[in-house]
């Protein structure tokens, strides 16, 4: 307390007023700092703060993008939570994808990473094979999956039928459409595999050797050495996965449209989410409301809900970071 008070006393004029020279120095220092930070500050203001504040503002207006927005209080908010037939199905689907798809992707990515690091021969080939699907454009990959999983003509069901197994409707069946999307996400798990591989190769070998000398089995080594060492990477994978799942748009839209037989052409309107809204996600709803139904206000409400959810998930995961890192730190 004394130490903190001392500089203030040193820069205070005898009559108790702040020393003008010290104040000027502080101002110059603050300006210098601001000048160095200005590129980021401008970027933050233009690309984050302004759009965010605009979104908040528009969420309280009736705005179609053509006429001036008109303040309408909580109308959009109450419509979304009580009257919209699509919001809650989209919310449930998005949360399902956040929990199941992200969970599966992280587990699968880690599993493949572990497998590749253990392989002695042909590592390069396997790395390439597992990574390649990640490079496929989302639309092309989705089209390929809809073809592969076509219930009537797809090779997957042909094989399942040949071996006497049930043949699901995949993208045409509401109970199988999200698992089918998860399968597509797992197919493109190359990004996580690479990250996990790098993390796994970074785990100190001596820790494994010491554990082996102590008689630790493979599960114990994974649980007490591998996992604590790679936990920051797991956290990174989960946080970025959650954010990606919150923005999941292209794959469910394309899969739904193709499975519904709507490619475009005669001016038919298409509601995303086929079959039975089972592939409808919040980002699709934002686009549909804002750009197709001319209802920016309601779209902004859902965008804010998405933003809040993303922040909440990230904050929750970050709070648990210490626990995740555990012995590794």
């Amino acid at each position: 307390m004394t130490a903190a008070a001392a500089p203030t006393a040193a820069h205070t004029a005898p009559d108790g007023a702040p020393d003008p020279a010290a104040r000027a120095r502080r101002r110059r220092s603050a300006l210098r700092t601001a000048a160095f930070m200005s590129p980021w500050l401008i970027g933050f203001a233009v690309f984050f703060a302004y759009p965010l504040l605009s979104t908040v503002y528009f969420s309280f207006t009736k705005y179609d993008g053509f006429r001036q927005p008109v303040f309408n209080g909580l109308d959009n908010w109450s419509y979304v939570f009580t009257d919209s037939p699509a919001f809650w199905p989209a919310m449930r689907n998005t949360l399902w994808l956040v929990v199941v798809m992200v969970g599966c992707r992280v587990a699968f990515g880690l599993g493949i990473g572990l497998l590749i690091t253990k392989i002695k021969t042909g590592t390069g080939i396997f790395r390439t094979l597992f990574y390649l699907p990640y490079l496929a454009p989302p639309v092309a990959a989705t089209l390929a999956f809809v073809f592969l999983l076509n219930p009537g003509t797809g090779p997957v069901n042909t094989v399942l039928d040949a071996v006497g197994l049930p043949t699901p409707g995949w993208f045409t069946d509401p109970s199988w459409s999200k698992p089918a999307l998860t399968a597509l996400a797992l197919w493109g798990v190359g990004d996580l595999m690479v990250i996990f591989m790098a993390a796994l190769l970074d785990v100190p070998k001596e820790q494994y050797e010491a554990a082996e000398l102590d008689g630790a089995g493979s599960w114990a080594r994974f649980r007490h050495i591998t996992l604590p060492n790679i936990s920051p990477i797991v956290l990174f994978a989960v946080v970025t996965g959650v954010i990606q799942a919150m923005q999941y748009y292209t794959q469910p839209l394309v899969a739904g449209k193709v499975a519904a037989g709507v490619i475009g052409g005669s001016g038919q309107q298409f509601e995303p989410g086929y079959p039975d809204k089972s592939t409808l996600t919040l980002p699709q709803l934002v686009y549909n409301l804002g750009f197709q139904r001319f209802d920016y206000g309601t779209a902004c409400v859902i965008a804010l809900v998405l933003f809040t959810l993303s922040m909440a998930f990230t904050a929750l995961l970050m709070r648990r970071r210490g626990g995740l890192i555990g012995a590794g730190e």
Binding site: P151, A260, I263, G267, F291, Q292
Partner: protein, 444 residues
């Protein structure tokens, strides 16, 4: 003081950002003050993409430019509604002056939002009595609450396209005229194969391309709104009867799941792999273009066309159908609206232009004069659709402030009804009415 100063700065910034947010919005309602006799270049966006269609529209534009040497038209094809909407919102030099869209259902949104200019003043200025130029139903779907923000650019009539050879093989001598006969014929034409089909008489499900609930509802003469403008699907028994008949048809043809699984084997609607071309379906609810497309695909069977069947108790109205079509409008943000009107006027009201375009892309003409024109190429298959367009009881879906959202709400319900997931259809329709009224009130 410094704390207060920071707060003031923050509040000022917030206010400035809010003002900016409101300032960066689109404007509408420009008055047309340009001179259409001056040299000008118009930007025209349309959605056609097939080479033959693009060529037809270019020929049409060439005829216009010849008649209006001072106006050049820069044509951009394959534009979706989303791109058009965004360009119109953004305005500026990049926005189109004239737009055509296939999505008739969006007219209410286009008019209500002011995206397109009201064409009534232009029609008056040109001395055009729209009621004498366009069929009544087409005027209905191109305006909203008296705002004629679009005009019809050709017309789509929906009817039945059928495989005459398959009919003959099954001993069926004429297309079905009533719904009960239609169900019988569809069953008779259905050929099972294992747990699937070799051919279905008709793919009845509402995901079967042009088989939409709105098109069937037109055959029942259903009315979506009452006199007060409130949704009345539950009050009009036609909707319940139509959905009940649809559910019955789906069941009789093998059930929803089996039919949907068969549907997944179908090729693209706009390709030669269409199930009708390949003989997977013997009848297809479709627009006037299907017969011509099937012939171009080189099908090995004879093609017939007919109006869609009507309910048994409305047999006297046989011949009617659902109508919609491409619409054309002028961007309200445009600064060349008088010149743009010259193009719209030419393409939508000039009989020679309308007939030539209709002949080229096999669509039904959209003016009364063009429908009677001797230059209209009438094959027997195409004539059916022209007759549907002329039928006094042919109808469309009314324009609404929320565009076609009310139709999608109904369609969503119809998906459940056709597969038997709705126990009480009328009670379900009452909920649909409630949702429609909520959505429309919000959009107004």
């Amino acid at each position: 003081m410094p704390r207060t100063g920071r707060l003031t700065t923050a509040a000022t910034l917030l206010a400035a950002i809010s003002v900016l947010a409101t300032a960066c919005t689109g404007q509408s309602g420009n008055a047309a003050a340009d001179d259409p006799a001056k040299d000008v270049t118009l930007s025209f966006w349309h959605g056609w993409s097939a080479p033959s269609e693009v060529m037809a529209i270019e020929e049409n534009i060439a005829r216009f430019e010849k008649a209006h040497p001072n106006i050049k038209v820069k044509v951009t094809g394959n534009m979706t509604d989303d791109k058009v909407n965004q360009a119109l919102r953004a305005g500026g030099d990049g926005a189109p002056d004239v737009v055509s869209s296939f999505t008739t259902d969006s007219v209410g949104k286009f008019c209500n939002s002011g995206a397109f200019a009201d064409l009534n003043p232009f029609l008056e200025k040109s001395g055009i009595d729209k009621a004498k130029v366009f069929p009544k139903t087409l005027l209905e779907y191109t305006q909203f609450n008296g705002n004629q923000c679009t005009l019809p650019l050709l017309n789509d009539a929906y009817g039945l396209v059928y495989n005459k050879t398959a009919f003959a093989a099954a001993g069926i001598t004429e297309p079905p005229k009533t719904w009960s006969r239609f169900t019988e014929v569809a069953q008779k034409l259905t050929k099972p194969k294992g747990d699937s089909y070799e051919q279905v008489g008709l793919m009845p499900t509402f995901h079967g391309y042009e088989t939409k609930p709105t098109r069937l509802a037109a055959q029942w003469g259903a009315r979506y709104f009452d006199a007060d403008g409130k949704a009345g699907l539950a009050k009009d028994p036609a909707f319940t009867k139509m959905l009940t008949a649809q559910k019955d048809l789906v069941e009789k043809l093998g059930g929803y799941e089996k039919l949907e699984r068969f549907r997944t084997t179908f090729g693209d609607e706009w390709s030669a792999e269409h199930p009708f071309h390949r003989g997977q379906v013997a009848m297809q609810i479709d627009g006037e273009w299907r017969a011509a497309m099937a012939k171009e695909a080189g099908v090995g069977f004879e093609i017939g066309t007919a109006p869609l069947p009507v309910p048994d108790d409305q047999a006297a109205d046989y011949g009617k159908g659902y109508l919609s079509g491409t619409i054309m409008g002028i961007a309200s943000v445009g600064t060349k609206q008088n010149a743009a009107w010259e193009l719209v006027k030419y393409m939508t009201t000039d009989t020679e232009a309308v007939v030539a375009f209709a002949n080229a892309i096999h669509n039904v003409p959209s003016t009364l004069a063009a429908l009677e024109s001797p230059a209209l190429e009438l094959t027997p298959e195409f004539k059916t659709f022209v007759d549907i367009a002329r039928h006094p009881k042919s109808s469309t879906t009314p324009a609404q402030a929320d565009g076609g959202t009310y139709q999608l709400t109904f369609e969503d319900f119809a998906y459940g009804a056709e597969k038997g997931a709705v126990a009480d259809i009328t009670a379900g329709l009452a909920k649909v009415d409630q949702q429609i009224d909520t959505d429309i009130a919000k959009a107004k």
